[in-house]
């Protein structure tokens, strides 16, 4: 019995001495700023900055290999705090949120087939391009909703909708959507074109009751081409988010009914 106690205590003592010495000579000094920066980041670990989690971004920031302001979720406040810790300048960021540029609900946009495969937009898109007549629009199988770390996206009537209050602008949904119909837009913008179909008017009408026809009325009603609130890609109007329109009138005047004032849906989560 006594022998056992002495042995164990002896082993413990030797180990303690070895560890104490190792700590003294082999320890790696971690920059305390890494911990501070990590604490300043929102901790969502969304990966939107392009680094493995908030900790990864913090290390890159401290090492000086990443620009301050890449965290969309944290926004300006976070960048300012990091700037204080690191003594660098904060790049001005604007909070951006995801916008699904489609308003072709099940009742408005025709479906050309019965898709009963796996409920995933990427798989549906591999099957004849998806069951929607419009090949540019949201399929509504929720690939974006599944990757959203904040549960900000939900599917309503065959259409993905983003809750602006929950969205942190990480861009994961943008990356996964096979139709490339999601865009990150400034949270402050209030007027949007909810369509992604650049085809000519008649071709759009064949597949969707609310698609943009490229009639340029929105441009005209917002002060003409010179005002620069809209750009056009094919027969599709796009809001110029560097200079967004503010006059809500133009929304009501859109004959296609594909414009919306503050399109963000509130899911009530």
């Amino acid at each position: 019995m006594t022998i056992a106690i002495v042995c164990i205590a002896g082993v413990g003592l030797v180990a303690a001495i070895v560890l104490a010495i190792a700590d003294k000579y082999l320890s790696v000094k971690e920059d305390p700023r890494i911990g501070m920066v990590t604490a300043a980041l929102p901790g969502a670990n969304c990966g939107g900055c392009g680094f493995p989690g908030c900790d990864g971004y913090a290390r890159a920031l401290v090492a000086g290999t990443a620009p301050n302001g890449a965290c969309a979720a944290g926004g300006d406040a976070c960048a300012a705090e990091i700037a204080k810790i690191l003594g660098v300048e904060a790049a001005a960021t604007e909070k951006r949120v995801a916008l699904v540029k489609c308003c072709g609900t099940r009742s408005e946009a025709i479906r050309v087939g019965d898709y009963n495969g796996i409920c995933d937009c990427n798989v549906a898109a591999m099957t004849a391009g998806g069951d929607k007549g419009c090949t540019y629009g949201c399929l509504g199988y929720g690939a974006c909703a599944n990757v959203c770390p904040k549960n900000a996206i939900s599917i309503h009537d065959g259409l993905a909708r983003v809750d602006k209050r929950l969205c942190i602008g990480c861009g994961k949904c943008v990356a996964i959507c096979p139709k490339k119909v999601i865009e990150l837009v400034p949270a402050s913008a209030t007027i949007h074109v909810l369509c992604n179909n650049p085809d000519k008017g008649p071709a759009v009408r064949k597949v969707c009751g609310v698609g943009c026809m490229g009639c340029h009325l929105c441009e005209k009603n917002s002060g003409g081409k010179e005002a620069g609130h809209f750009t056009f890609e094919g027969f599709l109007a796009k809001v110029n988010y560097a200079n967004p329109p503010t006059d809500a009138q133009i929304v009501a005047k859109c004959p296609a009914k594909c414009m919306a004032e503050d399109a963000h849906f509130e899911s009530g989560n």
């Binding site: 050309v112 009963n116 796996i118 990427n122 798989v123 099957t127 004849a128």
Partner: protein, 461 residues
């Protein structure tokens, strides 16, 4: 030359209803030139061709309208004279969009232009032409694998240094239900196939030849026996047991010469084999001897809902709607339209899609054949595992993908899946297992591409 029975039987496989009697006895029939062709720049595997004409141009049959755009790519030639109405992004059978030329074939050239005459390319005598000339001819004729995948043939026929082709395997299995295009080709154009084989043999440096045909096509076997009767060298016709997916490249290699192609990225050439579809072989013969590029192909139009099932010789770019009209239209309402065969083909949503160099069939299925199932949870019966010809645990893969565990699917070797559909076909719970596999493969490929791009960007820095 002799005819032998296959000595190797792969594991798994299924027996779908073949339904070949619908179009089997229909001789190949040429479709009158449609008024409009939609010629896609993406008719092959790899990078789409680069369009080199513009709207308003008048093009001559055989003219290059899309240039080869990368190593794994082939050129596209127009299949008819006509005026380019527009160049638009059009939906392809697999669901992707690619640039396509909308060609008005009724338009006449402006002014006095001499009628085009003579062969499109200079005919070559394969006996005297050099190997390089023959290879170049295959490339400029825009030939790609016509069995379905569309792999550029000149790349296949030019093994990388250090690799030698020991066996040239001719794929005449045609194991997909309904399809009879290759079968008719073997019956009606056997001498062309023989010529093609001789040319390919020369290009590949004289490999042994194995002609693989399923046992349910005795006439085709007879036709090939007659055509190849007096050929010298090591040539064998291998009669394969009737089993789906016998026509898959890997399974054909195993069934004919008993070799196993390792996991991707290994290719058949790594085990000394080159497999070509019989249609491709005939196209090579035409390109060399007649100077005729690959501009048209035989497509089986069948399925219970078409009035007259036929094997149609149609220019690449013919719209499905024109094919259907040529076959007497619909006899009953079409519940499902499939480009290709029922096992591996693509369901399409509109007949406005057009044929490509790889369109082997167009199936119009009536309601009674296009079942809509509700898929359920896996009951762990193991039938998919037994059916999988690639020895995969399909159930495990499907479950992994279902719970977004792509890594798990990768660990279960999903990348070796050949998307044959045998698992989904045999699942009593109607699980879309093949679709799960495709989903996993797509994500894995996307990830690998992203990693490569990242590494390339880092290397640049």
């Amino acid at each position: 030359m002799k005819t032998v029975k296959s000595q190797f039987k792969f594991k798994g496989g299924v027996h779908p209803d073949y339904n070949k009697e619908l179009a089997r006895e229909q001789p190949i029939e040429k479709i009158p030139l449609p008024a409009e062709l939609v010629i896609s720049m993406s008719q092959h595997l790899g990078a789409p061709a680069k369009c080199v004409v513009k709207a308003g141009d008048f093009v001559r049959r055989g003219q290059v309208v899309g240039e080869k755009n990368g190593f794994i790519s082939v050129c596209v030639r127009t299949s008819a004279d006509g005026k380019v109405k527009a160049i638009e992004k059009r939906l392809g059978p697999a669901g992707g969009k690619a640039d396509a030329i909308i060609l008005d074939t009724t338009a006449k050239p402006e002014g006095e232009v001499a009628e085009a005459s003579g062969p499109i390319l200079e005919p070559l005598d394969w006996r005297t032409a050099s190997r390089e000339d023959l290879l170049k001819r295959v490339e400029e004729a825009g030939i790609c694998g016509m069995g379905g995948a569309g792999f550029p043939t000149n790349v296949k026929l030019n093994p990388p240094p250090g690799k030698r082709c020991e066996y040239l395997i001719l794929n005449g299995a045609e194991c997909e239900p309904y399809l009879t295009a290759d079968y008719r080709l073997m019956l009606e154009r056997a001498p062309r196939i023989r010529l093609g084989v001789e040319i390919m043999r020369k290009i590949l440096g004289g490999p042994a030849v194995r002609i693989a045909i399923e046992a349910n096509k005795p006439e085709a076997i007879k036709a090939m026996e007659t055509a190849f009767a007096d050929i010298d060298g090591n040539v064998e016709i291998v009669v394969l047991p009737v089993l789906y997916p016998q026509g898959s490249e890997k399974h054909q290699i195993f069934a004919t010469v008993g070799r196993v192609v390792p996991e991707p990225p290994a290719l058949p050439i790594d085990v000394g084999c080159v497999v070509e579809n019989v249609g491709t072989v005939a196209a090579i013969a035409d390109a060399v001897e007649l100077g005729e590029p690959l501009l048209e192909r035989v497509t089986t139009v069948s399925g219970g809902a078409v009035a007259q099932p036929k094997n149609v010789l149609a220019p690449c770019g013919t719209k499905y709607s024109d094919l259907i009209a040529f076959c007497g239209g619909e006899k009953e309402p079409v519940a499902k339209l499939i480009s290709g065969g029922t096992m591996m083909g693509f369901a399409v949503s509109t007949p406005e899609i057009s044929t490509t160099k790889t369109t082997s069939g167009l199936l119009l299925l009536p309601n009674s054949k296009a079942y809509q199932y509700v898929s359920q949870a896996c009951i762990n019966c193991g039938r998919c595992v037994r059916a999988c010809p690639m020895n995969l645990n399909a159930a495990e893969i499907a479950k992994a993908v279902e719970s977004d565990d792509i890594k798990g699917a990768e660990d279960a070797h999903v990348m070796t899946c050949i998307e044959c559909g045998a698992c989904s076909f045999s699942c009593p719970a109607y699980r879309p297992i093949t679709q799960f596999c495709r989903r996993a493969k797509n994500s894995i490929r996307a990830r690998i591409a992203a990693e490569k791009a990242k590494a390339a960007a880092a290397a640049k820095k």
